[in-house]
Symmetry: C2
Subunit: 98 residues, 2 copies
DNA sequence: GTCTGTTACGTTAAACGTAATAATG
DNA sequence: CATTATTACGTTTAACGTAACAGAC
């Protein structure tokens, strides 16, 4: 099954344009981010990034994948809100009725 | 962040009506399923199940949560298909063009 | 020489299974 | 006594950080 944490890191790498900057924003070490991207590529069977000078450049397939990834992550956030709303209303009920 | 594996297990428990049956269908031990449900309840701050005879009975809040959970899991599956489709077409291109 | 990404190595922490326990039918 | 769920215990394994390494400016 797909790992949401890896997907979030993937988006961070695209947004920041480098492994190091993404690692700073995700609370991971650069090594961890690099490994997550390697694992994602291995899982998909596709290279998402190419070397570019000292850094990396996303391949077109990476931008395409990001479209669906961003959407899925948004829906996960929506579910979290949905669940949180359900459960706080639940607690209000018990507060009132008990 | 929410764990998709736990969400899948949660749906399996609802579908099968017991920890043991869910565990058989998920490839987990009953203890693992029980712990996953305990962790989910702790995370949400809500009891999702109640004891019922020798088994458990989902509380109404569990069924409500399941609506959003099923939708999210479906969207994850759709993303997997989407990603797989992107990457196979990518591989076809490289097969043709290289 | 500095900066970025990757890989090797050891460690840590989350999650598991087995087995023991409690409770119900 | 059989069945279900939970908890305790030890183990395994996935993922991490540090550090060493390789390539680009």
């Amino acid at each position: 099954m797909i790992h949401l944490t890896v997907l979030r890191t993937f988006i961070a790498v695209l947004d920041h344009g480098s492994i190091i900057e993404a690692s700073r924003n995700c609370g991971y070490s650069p090594a961890a981010v690099s490994r997550q991207m390697s694992a994602l590529q291995a899982r998909l069977g596709v290279r998402l990034f190419e070397p570019d000078g000292r850094g990396i450049r996303p391949r077109p397939i990476a931008e395409e994948l990001a479209v669906g990834a961003r959407r899925l992550l948004d829906e996960c956030d929506q579910f979290d809100d949905y669940a949180k709303g359900l459960c706080t209303s639940q607690n209000v009920h018990s507060l009132v009725l008990v």
